[in-house]
Protein backbone atom coordinates (compact mmCIF):
# COMPACT_ATOMS: atom_id res chain seq x y z
CA UNK A 1 0.00 0.00 0.00
CA UNK A 2 1.30 3.47 -0.94
CA UNK A 3 0.62 6.63 1.06
CA UNK A 4 0.25 10.21 -0.03
CA UNK A 5 3.38 12.16 0.96
CA UNK A 6 1.01 14.87 2.22
CA UNK A 7 -0.75 12.67 4.78
CA UNK A 8 0.94 14.20 7.84
CA UNK A 9 -0.45 17.65 7.26
CA UNK A 10 -3.81 16.22 6.18
CA UNK A 11 -4.15 14.21 9.37
CA UNK A 12 -3.52 17.44 11.29
CA UNK A 13 -6.44 18.89 9.33
CA UNK A 14 -8.64 15.97 10.56
CA UNK A 15 -8.54 13.95 7.35
CA UNK A 16 -10.44 10.67 7.37
CA UNK A 17 -7.90 8.44 5.63
CA UNK A 18 -9.01 5.53 3.49
CA UNK A 19 -7.76 3.31 0.72
CA UNK A 20 -8.22 4.18 -2.94
CA UNK A 21 -6.57 2.23 -5.77
CA UNK A 22 -3.87 0.92 -3.42
CA UNK A 23 -3.15 4.33 -1.86
CA UNK A 24 -3.82 5.73 1.62
CA UNK A 25 -5.53 9.02 0.78
CA UNK A 26 -7.85 11.55 2.48
CA UNK A 27 -11.37 10.34 1.73
CA UNK A 28 -13.05 13.25 3.47
CA UNK A 29 -12.58 15.72 6.31
CA UNK A 30 -15.81 16.59 8.15
CA UNK A 31 -18.50 16.09 5.53
CA UNK A 32 -18.25 15.41 1.80
CA UNK A 33 -21.37 17.50 1.25
CA UNK A 34 -19.83 20.62 2.82
CA UNK A 35 -16.60 20.06 0.88
CA UNK A 36 -18.58 19.59 -2.33
CA UNK A 37 -20.50 22.83 -1.84
CA UNK A 38 -17.26 24.64 -1.00
CA UNK A 39 -16.06 23.88 -4.54
CA UNK A 40 -19.37 24.83 -6.14
CA UNK A 41 -19.68 28.12 -4.22
CA UNK A 42 -16.20 28.97 -2.95
CA UNK A 43 -12.92 27.04 -3.07
CA UNK A 44 -11.30 23.80 -1.88
CA UNK A 45 -8.14 21.81 -2.51
CA UNK A 46 -7.63 18.10 -3.13
CA UNK A 47 -4.65 15.83 -2.73
CA UNK A 48 -4.19 13.89 -5.98
CA UNK A 49 -0.81 12.38 -5.19
CA UNK A 50 -2.13 8.88 -5.95
CA UNK A 51 -2.39 9.63 -9.66
CA UNK A 52 0.41 8.36 -11.87
CA UNK A 53 2.75 11.06 -13.15
CA UNK A 54 5.07 10.14 -15.98
CA UNK A 55 7.61 11.94 -18.12
CA UNK A 56 7.89 10.49 -21.62
CA UNK A 57 10.80 11.27 -23.87
CA UNK A 58 11.43 10.11 -27.40
CA UNK A 59 10.08 10.53 -30.88
CA UNK A 60 6.92 12.59 -31.15
CA UNK A 61 5.74 10.22 -33.90
CA UNK A 62 6.02 7.22 -31.63
CA UNK A 63 3.80 8.66 -28.92
CA UNK A 64 1.39 9.95 -31.56
CA UNK A 65 0.72 6.36 -32.63
CA UNK A 66 -0.12 5.33 -29.05
CA UNK A 67 -2.39 8.17 -28.10
CA UNK A 68 -5.88 8.70 -29.55
CA UNK A 69 -5.57 12.46 -30.02
CA UNK A 70 -3.40 14.14 -32.62
CA UNK A 71 -0.42 15.45 -30.69
CA UNK A 72 1.81 16.35 -33.61
CA UNK A 73 -0.02 19.54 -34.50
CA UNK A 74 -0.10 20.78 -30.89
CA UNK A 75 2.34 23.49 -29.84
CA UNK A 76 5.01 23.08 -27.19
CA UNK A 77 4.00 24.14 -23.70
CA UNK A 78 0.36 23.16 -24.20
CA UNK A 79 -1.95 20.93 -22.23
CA UNK A 80 -3.37 18.57 -24.83
CA UNK A 81 -6.18 17.75 -22.45
CA UNK A 82 -7.80 14.47 -21.70
CA UNK A 83 -7.06 11.79 -24.22
CA UNK A 84 -6.62 8.05 -24.07
CA UNK A 85 -4.44 5.05 -24.73
CA UNK A 86 -6.65 2.43 -26.35
CA UNK A 87 -6.17 -1.26 -26.96
CA UNK A 88 -6.62 -2.99 -30.33
CA UNK A 89 -10.32 -3.43 -29.63
CA UNK A 90 -10.74 0.30 -29.05
CA UNK A 91 -11.17 -0.21 -25.28
CA UNK A 92 -9.51 2.10 -22.79
CA UNK A 93 -6.10 1.09 -21.51
CA UNK A 94 -6.43 4.38 -19.64
CA UNK A 95 -7.76 7.89 -20.03
CA UNK A 96 -4.95 10.34 -19.35
CA UNK A 97 -4.10 14.01 -19.14
CA UNK A 98 -1.31 14.88 -21.54
CA UNK A 99 1.02 17.88 -21.58
CA UNK A 100 3.41 18.66 -24.43
CA UNK A 101 6.61 20.04 -22.90
CA UNK A 102 8.78 20.04 -25.97
CA UNK A 103 8.67 18.44 -29.38
CA UNK A 104 9.92 15.12 -28.00
CA UNK A 105 8.97 15.37 -24.33
CA UNK A 106 5.57 14.91 -22.72
CA UNK A 107 4.06 14.63 -19.26
CA UNK A 108 1.20 12.23 -18.62
CA UNK A 109 -1.16 11.83 -15.67
CA UNK A 110 -2.62 8.33 -15.44
CA UNK A 111 -5.28 6.90 -13.19
CA UNK A 112 -3.72 5.47 -10.02
CA UNK A 113 -4.80 1.91 -10.79
CA UNK A 114 -3.27 2.02 -14.27
CA UNK A 115 0.14 3.56 -13.59
CA UNK A 116 2.19 0.36 -13.78
CA UNK A 117 0.09 -1.06 -16.60
CA UNK A 118 0.58 2.09 -18.70
CA UNK A 119 4.34 2.18 -18.11
CA UNK A 120 4.61 -1.42 -19.32
CA UNK A 121 2.20 -0.82 -22.19
CA UNK A 122 4.15 2.19 -23.51
CA UNK A 123 7.42 0.26 -23.25
CA UNK A 124 5.90 -2.72 -25.02
CA UNK A 125 4.49 -0.66 -27.86
CA UNK A 126 7.32 1.84 -28.41
CA UNK A 127 10.94 2.65 -27.75
CA UNK A 128 9.94 5.73 -25.73
CA UNK A 129 11.73 6.46 -22.47
CA UNK A 130 9.29 6.52 -19.53
CA UNK A 131 10.29 8.08 -16.23
CA UNK A 132 7.95 7.60 -13.25
CA UNK A 133 7.79 10.85 -11.26
CA UNK A 134 4.89 9.69 -9.06
CA UNK A 135 6.97 9.15 -5.94
CA UNK A 136 9.16 12.24 -6.36
CA UNK A 137 6.38 14.78 -6.62
CA UNK A 138 3.07 15.34 -4.86
CA UNK A 139 0.03 16.71 -6.69
CA UNK A 140 -2.82 18.90 -5.55
CA UNK A 141 -5.75 20.62 -7.26
CA UNK A 142 -7.23 23.92 -6.09
CA UNK A 143 -10.73 24.28 -7.46
CA UNK A 144 -13.76 26.44 -6.98
CA UNK A 145 -16.11 29.11 -8.22
CA UNK A 146 -14.23 31.79 -6.27
CA UNK A 147 -10.80 30.26 -6.69
CA UNK A 148 -9.17 33.51 -7.85
CA UNK A 149 -10.30 35.31 -4.72
CA UNK A 150 -8.24 32.91 -2.66
CA UNK A 151 -5.08 32.54 -4.64
CA UNK A 152 -3.03 35.07 -6.45
CA UNK A 153 -4.27 35.59 -9.98
CA UNK A 154 -2.55 33.00 -12.10
CA UNK A 155 -1.86 34.24 -15.57
CA UNK A 156 -2.69 30.98 -17.29
CA UNK A 157 -4.82 30.48 -20.35
CA UNK A 158 -6.95 27.35 -20.56
CA UNK A 159 -4.97 24.44 -21.99
CA UNK A 160 -1.68 26.03 -20.95
CA UNK A 161 0.70 24.89 -18.32
CA UNK A 162 4.07 25.93 -16.98
CA UNK A 163 7.05 24.02 -15.78
CA UNK A 164 9.44 25.05 -13.02
CA UNK A 165 7.49 28.15 -12.09
CA UNK A 166 6.44 29.91 -8.90
CA UNK A 167 3.06 29.60 -7.25
CA UNK A 168 2.32 31.75 -4.20
CA UNK A 169 6.06 32.25 -3.82
CA UNK A 170 6.87 28.52 -3.89
CA UNK A 171 8.85 26.70 -6.57
CA UNK A 172 6.57 24.17 -8.20
CA UNK A 173 7.37 21.69 -10.95
CA UNK A 174 4.13 21.99 -12.88
CA UNK A 175 1.25 24.43 -12.80
CA UNK A 176 -1.76 24.01 -15.09
CA UNK A 177 -5.20 25.49 -15.36
CA UNK A 178 -7.04 22.24 -15.14
CA UNK A 179 -9.12 20.16 -12.78
CA UNK A 180 -11.86 17.62 -12.80
CA UNK A 181 -14.65 19.31 -10.93
CA UNK A 182 -16.35 21.54 -13.47
CA UNK A 183 -15.04 24.63 -11.69
CA UNK A 184 -12.06 26.80 -12.49
CA UNK A 185 -8.75 26.27 -10.75
CA UNK A 186 -5.24 24.95 -11.00
CA UNK A 187 -3.37 21.71 -10.59
CA UNK A 188 0.17 21.63 -9.23
CA UNK A 189 2.96 19.10 -9.04
CA UNK A 190 5.74 19.81 -6.63
CA UNK A 191 7.99 18.39 -3.95
CA UNK A 192 5.90 17.19 -0.96
CA UNK A 193 7.52 19.76 1.41
CA UNK A 194 6.59 22.61 -0.95
CA UNK A 195 3.01 21.43 -1.33
CA UNK A 196 2.68 20.91 2.46
CA UNK A 197 3.66 24.55 2.97
CA UNK A 198 1.18 25.59 0.26
CA UNK A 199 -1.59 23.61 1.96
CA UNK A 200 -0.96 25.48 5.22
CA UNK A 201 -1.14 28.80 3.42
CA UNK A 202 -4.30 27.84 1.52
CA UNK A 203 -6.05 26.71 4.72
CA UNK A 204 -5.05 30.00 6.38
CA UNK A 205 -6.64 31.84 3.47
CA UNK A 206 -9.90 29.93 4.02
CA UNK A 207 -9.58 27.29 1.28
CA UNK A 208 -11.25 24.10 2.53
CA UNK A 209 -9.56 20.71 2.43
CA UNK A 210 -11.61 18.21 0.43
CA UNK A 211 -11.34 14.45 0.01
CA UNK A 212 -11.76 11.92 -2.75
CA UNK A 213 -15.44 11.31 -1.94
CA UNK A 214 -16.12 14.92 -2.86
CA UNK A 215 -14.02 14.66 -5.97
CA UNK A 216 -16.19 11.72 -6.99
CA UNK A 217 -19.48 13.56 -6.40
CA UNK A 218 -18.19 16.62 -8.28
CA UNK A 219 -17.08 14.62 -11.32
CA UNK A 220 -20.35 12.69 -11.44
CA UNK A 221 -22.33 15.94 -11.51
CA UNK A 222 -20.25 16.95 -14.53
CA UNK A 223 -20.61 13.55 -16.21
CA UNK A 224 -16.88 12.84 -16.16
CA UNK A 225 -15.99 9.16 -16.26
CA UNK A 226 -13.85 7.29 -13.75
CA UNK A 227 -11.62 4.45 -14.91
CA UNK A 228 -12.60 1.13 -13.37
CA UNK A 229 -16.14 2.38 -12.82
CA UNK A 230 -17.51 3.96 -15.99
CA UNK A 231 -14.81 2.95 -18.44
CA UNK A 232 -12.38 0.04 -18.68
CA UNK A 233 -10.54 -2.03 -21.27
CA UNK A 234 -13.83 -3.32 -22.73
CA UNK A 235 -15.46 0.10 -23.25
CA UNK A 236 -14.67 2.31 -26.24
CA UNK A 237 -14.74 6.13 -26.30
CA UNK A 238 -17.72 5.99 -28.66
CA UNK A 239 -19.75 3.88 -26.23
CA UNK A 240 -18.64 6.17 -23.40
CA UNK A 241 -19.36 9.32 -25.43
CA UNK A 242 -15.91 10.51 -24.46
CA UNK A 243 -14.45 12.51 -27.33
CA UNK A 244 -10.76 11.98 -26.75
CA UNK A 245 -9.63 10.90 -30.22
CA UNK A 246 -8.80 12.32 -33.67
CA UNK A 247 -9.96 9.99 -36.41
CA UNK A 248 -7.83 11.74 -39.02
CA UNK A 249 -4.69 10.07 -37.72
CA UNK A 250 -3.52 6.54 -36.99
CA UNK A 251 -3.57 5.18 -33.44
CA UNK A 252 -4.04 1.83 -31.75
CA UNK A 253 -7.75 1.01 -31.63
CA UNK A 254 -8.75 3.39 -34.43
CA UNK A 255 -10.04 0.64 -36.73
CA UNK A 256 -12.48 -0.52 -34.09
CA UNK A 257 -13.79 3.02 -33.57
CA UNK A 258 -14.28 3.46 -37.32
CA UNK A 259 -16.13 0.14 -37.42
CA UNK A 260 -18.40 1.21 -34.55
CA UNK A 261 -19.13 4.51 -36.27
CA UNK A 262 -20.29 2.55 -39.30
CA UNK A 263 -22.19 -0.28 -37.65
CA UNK A 264 -23.32 1.36 -34.41
CA UNK A 265 -22.76 0.33 -30.82
CA UNK A 266 -24.59 -2.09 -28.51
CA UNK A 267 -24.52 0.20 -25.51
CA UNK A 268 -24.08 3.89 -24.81
CA UNK A 269 -23.39 5.92 -21.68
CA UNK A 270 -26.19 7.92 -20.09
CA UNK A 271 -26.56 10.11 -17.03
CA UNK A 272 -29.53 9.91 -14.69
CA UNK A 273 -31.21 11.80 -11.89
CA UNK A 274 -33.40 10.34 -9.17
CA UNK A 275 -36.55 11.79 -7.65
CA UNK A 276 -36.32 14.47 -5.00
CA UNK A 277 -37.06 12.34 -1.93
CA UNK A 278 -35.37 9.14 -3.05
CA UNK A 279 -32.36 8.33 -0.89
CA UNK A 280 -31.60 4.79 -2.04
CA UNK A 281 -28.27 4.87 -3.83
CA UNK A 282 -27.91 2.63 -6.87
CA UNK A 283 -24.64 0.68 -6.90
CA UNK A 284 -22.33 -0.42 -9.70
CA UNK A 285 -23.91 -3.12 -11.92
CA UNK A 286 -27.49 -2.59 -10.64
CA UNK A 287 -29.74 -3.16 -13.68
CA UNK A 288 -31.64 -0.43 -15.51
CA UNK A 289 -35.10 -1.78 -16.27
CA UNK A 290 -37.94 -0.78 -18.58
CA UNK A 291 -41.27 -2.61 -18.12
CA UNK A 292 -39.43 -5.21 -16.07
CA UNK A 293 -36.78 -5.96 -18.70
CA UNK A 294 -33.11 -5.11 -18.26
CA UNK A 295 -31.88 -2.52 -20.78
CA UNK A 296 -28.54 -1.61 -19.20
CA UNK A 297 -26.58 -1.23 -16.01
CA UNK A 298 -25.33 1.41 -13.56
CA UNK A 299 -21.61 2.21 -13.38
CA UNK A 300 -21.51 5.12 -10.88
CA UNK A 301 -23.90 6.77 -8.51
CA UNK A 302 -23.85 9.25 -5.66
CA UNK A 303 -26.03 11.71 -3.83
CA UNK A 304 -25.57 15.16 -5.35
CA UNK A 305 -25.26 17.82 -2.65
CA UNK A 306 -25.87 20.48 -5.29
CA UNK A 307 -29.10 19.00 -6.69
CA UNK A 308 -30.18 17.26 -3.49
CA UNK A 309 -30.94 14.09 -5.35
CA UNK A 310 -29.47 10.81 -6.43
CA UNK A 311 -27.45 11.05 -9.65
CA UNK A 312 -25.28 8.69 -11.60
CA UNK A 313 -24.39 7.17 -14.91
CA UNK A 314 -24.37 3.86 -16.70
CA UNK A 315 -24.91 2.19 -20.04
CA UNK A 316 -28.14 1.42 -21.91
CA UNK A 317 -29.02 0.04 -25.30
CA UNK A 318 -28.82 2.94 -27.78
CA UNK A 319 -32.53 2.40 -28.50
CA UNK A 320 -33.26 3.65 -24.98
CA UNK A 321 -31.23 6.85 -25.01
CA UNK A 322 -34.07 9.35 -24.80
CA UNK A 323 -33.38 12.40 -22.67
CA UNK A 324 -36.11 12.64 -20.07
CA UNK A 325 -37.06 8.97 -20.42
CA UNK A 326 -37.84 7.15 -17.17
CA UNK A 327 -35.92 4.06 -16.18
CA UNK A 328 -36.19 1.86 -13.10
CA UNK A 329 -33.07 0.77 -11.28
CA UNK A 330 -33.25 -2.51 -9.40
CA UNK A 331 -31.41 -1.80 -6.14
CA UNK A 332 -31.34 -4.95 -4.02
CA UNK A 333 -34.79 -5.89 -5.30
CA UNK A 334 -36.29 -2.45 -4.80
CA UNK A 335 -37.16 -0.51 -7.97
CA UNK A 336 -36.33 3.17 -7.91
CA UNK A 337 -37.31 5.66 -10.61
CA UNK A 338 -34.72 7.75 -12.42
CA UNK A 339 -34.83 9.98 -15.47
CA UNK A 340 -32.22 9.96 -18.25
CA UNK A 341 -30.47 13.35 -18.21
CA UNK A 342 -27.88 15.05 -20.34
CA UNK A 343 -24.40 15.90 -19.08
CA UNK A 344 -23.46 17.88 -17.13
CA UNK A 345 -26.15 16.77 -14.72
CA UNK A 346 -26.01 20.08 -12.85
CA UNK A 347 -26.63 22.19 -15.95
Amino acid sequence: MFSSPLLDIEIKLNADIGEFAGWQMPMKYISYQDEHMAVRTSCAFFDLSHMGRLRIKGKNDELDKLVAKDIKKEKEGKMIGPTAFLNERGGFEDDVMLYKVKEDEFLVVTNAINREKIISWIKKNSSLDVQDLTFDLAMIAIQGRNVWNFIEKVDLQPLEFRLNTKFMGEDVFLLSRSGWTGEDGVELWGPPETLSRLITRLVNLGVKPAGLITRDSLRQEMGFVLYGEDIDSTITPIEARYWVFSLEKEFIGRDRLLEQLKTGVDKIRIGFKGKKNERVLPRKDNPFKVLGTQVGYVTSSTYSPYLNRVIGMGYVKPSHLYLGFNLNIDVRGKLIDVKISDFPLIK
Binding site: S31, Y32, S217, L281
Partner: protein, 140 residues
Amino acid sequence: MSNEIVVGGKYKVLKDRYYTETDEWVTIENNVAKVGITDYAQKKLRDIVGVDLPQPGREVKAGEQVATVESVKAAADIYSPLSGKITEANEELITSPELINKEPYGAGWIFKLEISDPKEIEKLLNYEQYINTIKKREGL
Protein backbone atom coordinates in the same frame (compact mmCIF):
# COMPACT_ATOMS: atom_id res chain seq x y z
CA MET B 1 -15.67 10.06 35.40
CA SER B 2 -16.46 10.68 31.81
CA ASN B 3 -19.11 8.59 30.17
CA GLU B 4 -17.09 8.58 26.97
CA ILE B 5 -14.13 6.42 25.97
CA VAL B 6 -12.19 6.99 22.76
CA VAL B 7 -10.83 3.81 21.20
CA GLY B 8 -7.81 3.97 18.92
CA GLY B 9 -7.79 7.77 19.20
CA LYS B 10 -10.83 7.84 16.96
CA TYR B 11 -13.96 5.88 17.88
CA LYS B 12 -16.20 7.03 20.72
CA VAL B 13 -17.86 4.42 22.92
CA LEU B 14 -20.30 5.46 25.67
CA LYS B 15 -20.43 3.59 28.94
CA ASP B 16 -24.15 4.05 29.53
CA ARG B 17 -25.44 1.63 26.89
CA TYR B 18 -25.38 -1.87 25.46
CA TYR B 19 -23.88 -2.86 22.12
CA THR B 20 -24.10 -5.60 19.50
CA GLU B 21 -21.48 -7.38 17.41
CA THR B 22 -23.15 -5.73 14.39
CA ASP B 23 -22.42 -2.20 15.72
CA GLU B 24 -25.81 -1.15 17.05
CA TRP B 25 -26.10 0.58 20.42
CA VAL B 26 -29.07 0.20 22.77
CA THR B 27 -30.42 2.15 25.74
CA ILE B 28 -33.32 0.76 27.75
CA GLU B 29 -35.94 2.72 29.64
CA ASN B 30 -39.26 1.33 30.94
CA ASN B 31 -38.99 -1.79 28.77
CA VAL B 32 -38.45 0.31 25.63
CA ALA B 33 -35.15 0.00 23.77
CA LYS B 34 -33.79 2.90 21.73
CA VAL B 35 -31.41 1.77 18.97
CA GLY B 36 -28.85 3.48 16.77
CA ILE B 37 -25.50 2.72 15.20
CA THR B 38 -22.19 3.37 16.94
CA ASP B 39 -19.64 6.06 16.23
CA TYR B 40 -17.36 3.30 14.93
CA ALA B 41 -20.06 2.17 12.46
CA GLN B 42 -20.82 5.65 11.15
CA LYS B 43 -17.12 6.41 10.72
CA LYS B 44 -16.64 3.19 8.77
CA LEU B 45 -19.63 3.98 6.55
CA ARG B 46 -18.52 7.59 6.06
CA ASP B 47 -21.14 10.02 4.70
CA ILE B 48 -24.67 8.75 5.24
CA VAL B 49 -27.17 9.99 2.65
CA GLY B 50 -30.29 7.96 3.36
CA VAL B 51 -32.04 5.63 5.79
CA ASP B 52 -34.77 3.07 5.13
CA LEU B 53 -36.69 3.10 8.43
CA PRO B 54 -38.79 0.28 9.92
CA GLN B 55 -42.58 0.60 10.12
CA PRO B 56 -43.95 1.13 13.66
CA GLY B 57 -46.05 -1.82 14.73
CA ARG B 58 -43.76 -4.38 13.09
CA GLU B 59 -42.88 -7.37 15.27
CA VAL B 60 -39.21 -8.26 15.03
CA LYS B 61 -36.89 -10.93 16.36
CA ALA B 62 -33.44 -10.27 17.79
CA GLY B 63 -30.93 -10.27 14.93
CA GLU B 64 -33.56 -9.55 12.29
CA GLN B 65 -32.73 -6.91 9.67
CA VAL B 66 -35.00 -3.92 10.31
CA ALA B 67 -33.46 -0.91 8.55
CA THR B 68 -30.88 0.01 5.91
CA VAL B 69 -28.45 2.89 6.06
CA GLU B 70 -27.22 4.21 2.70
CA SER B 71 -23.83 5.83 2.61
CA VAL B 72 -21.71 6.97 -0.31
CA LYS B 73 -19.59 3.91 0.38
CA ALA B 74 -22.13 1.12 0.88
CA ALA B 75 -25.59 0.15 2.02
CA ALA B 76 -25.50 -1.29 5.54
CA ASP B 77 -28.19 -3.45 7.10
CA ILE B 78 -29.27 -2.54 10.64
CA TYR B 79 -30.34 -5.43 12.86
CA SER B 80 -32.67 -5.37 15.84
CA PRO B 81 -30.65 -6.08 18.98
CA LEU B 82 -33.74 -7.46 20.75
CA SER B 83 -37.10 -9.05 19.99
CA GLY B 84 -40.22 -6.96 20.27
CA LYS B 85 -42.49 -4.48 18.53
CA ILE B 86 -41.21 -1.36 16.77
CA THR B 87 -42.92 1.60 18.45
CA GLU B 88 -41.27 4.51 16.68
CA ALA B 89 -38.80 5.33 13.91
CA ASN B 90 -36.76 8.51 13.84
CA GLU B 91 -38.57 10.37 11.05
CA GLU B 92 -36.08 13.21 11.20
CA LEU B 93 -33.58 10.92 9.48
CA ILE B 94 -35.70 10.92 6.31
CA THR B 95 -34.71 14.51 5.55
CA SER B 96 -31.52 14.68 7.61
CA PRO B 97 -29.79 11.28 7.47
CA GLU B 98 -26.48 13.02 8.16
CA LEU B 99 -27.62 13.24 11.81
CA ILE B 100 -26.25 9.72 12.16
CA ASN B 101 -22.80 11.04 11.24
CA LYS B 102 -23.10 14.11 13.41
CA GLU B 103 -24.71 12.63 16.51
CA PRO B 104 -24.68 8.84 16.28
CA TYR B 105 -25.47 8.40 19.98
CA GLY B 106 -27.99 11.25 20.16
CA ALA B 107 -30.22 12.81 17.51
CA GLY B 108 -29.11 10.11 15.07
CA TRP B 109 -31.01 7.30 16.86
CA ILE B 110 -32.88 5.05 14.41
CA PHE B 111 -35.81 3.28 16.07
CA LYS B 112 -37.48 2.35 19.36
CA LEU B 113 -38.78 -1.07 20.28
CA GLU B 114 -41.00 -2.49 23.05
CA ILE B 115 -39.02 -5.42 24.45
CA SER B 116 -40.84 -8.77 24.45
CA ASP B 117 -38.12 -10.91 26.05
CA PRO B 118 -36.06 -9.02 28.67
CA LYS B 119 -33.79 -12.07 29.07
CA GLU B 120 -32.21 -11.24 25.71
CA ILE B 121 -30.67 -8.11 27.25
CA GLU B 122 -28.12 -10.35 28.99
CA LYS B 123 -26.78 -11.39 25.59
CA LEU B 124 -25.93 -7.83 24.57
CA LEU B 125 -22.37 -6.55 24.90
CA ASN B 126 -21.40 -4.08 27.59
CA TYR B 127 -19.14 -1.18 26.63
CA GLU B 128 -15.97 -3.02 27.60
CA GLN B 129 -16.86 -5.99 25.43
CA TYR B 130 -17.68 -3.66 22.54
CA ILE B 131 -14.36 -1.83 22.95
CA ASN B 132 -12.64 -5.20 22.68
CA THR B 133 -14.63 -5.96 19.54
CA ILE B 134 -13.38 -2.73 17.95
CA LYS B 135 -9.81 -3.34 19.09
CA LYS B 136 -9.87 -6.83 17.63
CA ARG B 137 -11.16 -5.63 14.28
CA GLU B 138 -8.72 -2.74 14.10
CA GLY B 139 -5.79 -4.80 15.31
CA LEU B 140 -5.26 -2.50 18.31
